[in-house]
């Protein structure tokens, strides 16, 4: 009973965290990060003002934009909900899983990460959206979903003892999965680096067209593409390794990884040729965050030799 309950709470925390990454991405692409210039309150209120008259007199209201304020506030509210969800999960882990180190420590680690990232959110605002800190905020979120994915699959293994796969965690598979995860994290770092640079160049050159912005980027934008295609080959190799497996959870995840990498390359090319439409950017970031958690789940579905 408590096993099922814990799994549900871990799964909820994971899904909510992925939604949070989506909403966080939305804040970035819609440029709403300074929608609330203060933190944790918004224009001095716990609930953002719906009209300019509601802003307390001592707070400057020049920057007030109701839409941007509520987008940013949505991110903060969902952040609090994720925090509460992970707190509940950790309490359950402390009560029922004190002897299960994997679950106990991963729960507590995710609690630590979510609180830290909330605090980093305050620094994001006070730094006036320094692109480096904004990217760090996202990278910490990726570590959070990694840990949560691990917690979820470990608790799922307790309630579902059927085999997910015929495959064993051989040296080959283990190495390719670890490499894939590391390369994807590097690929995301390169991607955020490109984004950071575009934003810095755009501040200095507000009249640049998006094409000019792209062409003034450093050469590591090519590195991002090259690594992207390398990831594709690695995922094809993974499909090859799993060719004789039955279509259980593990093989489904392998196919998902392959499909998602293909989709990401497609989105990446789309952004270059169609001048970075914001929605494409959002799904490019969000999709890559999925890969990070899915690889961890896949790794932990495999049987130990």
């Amino acid at each position: 009973m408590s096993n099922k309950f814990f799994f549900r709470s871990a799964l909820t925390s994971t899904i909510l965290s992925y939604l949070l990454i989506f909403v966080g991405g939305l804040v970035r692409v819609s440029g709403s990060g300074l929608g609330c210039p203060d933190w944790p309150k918004c224009f001095g209120r716990w609930v953002p003002p719906t009209s300019i008259e509601q802003i307390p007199a001592h707070i400057d209201s020049t920057a007030f934009n109701i839409v941007l304020a509520w987008i940013e506030y949505g991110n903060r509210t969902l952040g609090v909900i994720v925090g509460i969800s992970i707190l509940l999960m950790s309490v359950i882990a402390l009560i029922y899983f004190r002897k299960n180190n994997k679950i106990l420590f991963s729960s507590l680690l995710s609690l630590f990460l979510v609180i830290s990232n909330g605090g980093l959110g305050a620094i994001v605002v006070s730094s006036i959206l320094n692109p480096f800190i904004v990217s760090l905020h996202m990278i910490l979120a990726l570590f959070l979903v990694s840990v949560l994915s691990y917690t979820t699959i470990e608790s799922y293994k307790i309630i579902d003892t059927n085999k997910f796969t015929n495959m064993y965690l051989s040296k080959k598979i283990s190495t390719s999965l670890i490499l894939l995860w590391i390369f994807i994290v590097i690929e995301i770092l390169l991607g955020t680096g490109i984004r950071t640079n575009i934003e810095l160049i755009a501040i200095d050159n507000p009249l640049f067209t998006k094409g000019e912005l792209l062409s003034s980027l450093n050469s590591y934008k090519y590195l991002h593409s090259i690594l992207g295609f390398s990831l594709l080959f690695l995922s094809i190799y993974l499909c090859y390794l799993f060719r004789d497996d039955f279509l259980g959870l593990s093989k489904q995840l392998v196919l998902f990884i392959f499909g998602m990498i293909m989709f990401q390359i497609f989105l990446g090319e789309l952004m270059i040729f169609f001048e970075l439409p914001q929605l494409t950017r959002l799904f490019h970031t969000w999709g890559s965050s999925w890969l990070v958690g899915i690889i961890i789940i896949l790794y932990n579905t495999l049987q130990y030799e």
Binding site: F22, L26, V29, T62, A63, V67, P206, L207
Partner: protein
């Protein structure tokens, strides 16, 4: 589903940016003297996006920051002929044309930044009634705001001239106005 949600939010945010640049009022007629001796009237604002501010050369607090910020904006928008800057002194007794000229050469790298002086009473009037900005206890009591004026002489928005986040916002609003034509 998430995609359409994202699209709606992005679209709303983009629209709200345009809506947020309100019509606050119309720039009244004025006549001031530029540091090079030429007379500048409200007609100079026709067909240009203007950033208007008040300052004086002996000011040691916010003014150097404000002037540096305008210099940065001047540089960043140097490829556009549609933008200009007007800095009006609140200390015309000290700020002669010579002194304004010297001050201008310290900050301005282009001929689209006017340093203007006139009768102090006119300037108080222009600040308070024209741009709705406080002008008590001059020269030091001048407003620290930058005023964004569009090509039709409409006052559109105010920004804290000494705050980087406001300057970034001003930049993106200028781009928004430029894109509107």
């Amino acid at each position: 589903m998430l995609g359409s949600f994202g699209l709606i939010v992005i679209d709303k945010a983009a629209r709200s940016r345009i809506d947020n640049i309100n019509f606050i009022g119309k720039v009244p007629s004025f006549s001031l003297t530029n540091f090079d001796g030429s007379v500048v009237t409200e007609k100079q604002l026709n067909n240009k996006i203007s950033i208007v501010s008040f300052m004086f050369t002996q000011c040691e607090g916010a003014c150097p920051i404000m002037s540096n910020n305008i210099a940065t904006l001047q540089e960043r928008f140097s490829s556009s002929k549609d933008i200009q800057f007007l800095s009006i002194t609140t200390d015309p007794d000290f700020d002669t044309l010579d002194i304004l000229n010297q001050y201008s050469s310290n900050y301005s790298k282009n001929d689209n930044w006017f340093f203007l002086r006139g009768d102090i009473l006119d300037i108080i009037d222009l600040s308070e009634k024209g741009f709705f900005l406080d002008a008590k206890l001059l020269p030091a009591g001048h407003s620290l705001r930058f005023v964004l004026v569009d090509k039709e002489l409409n006052i559109r928005k105010y920004y804290k001239g000494d705050e980087i986040s406001n300057i970034v916002e001003l930049q993106s609003d200028i781009v928004t106005l430029l894109n509107q034509g």
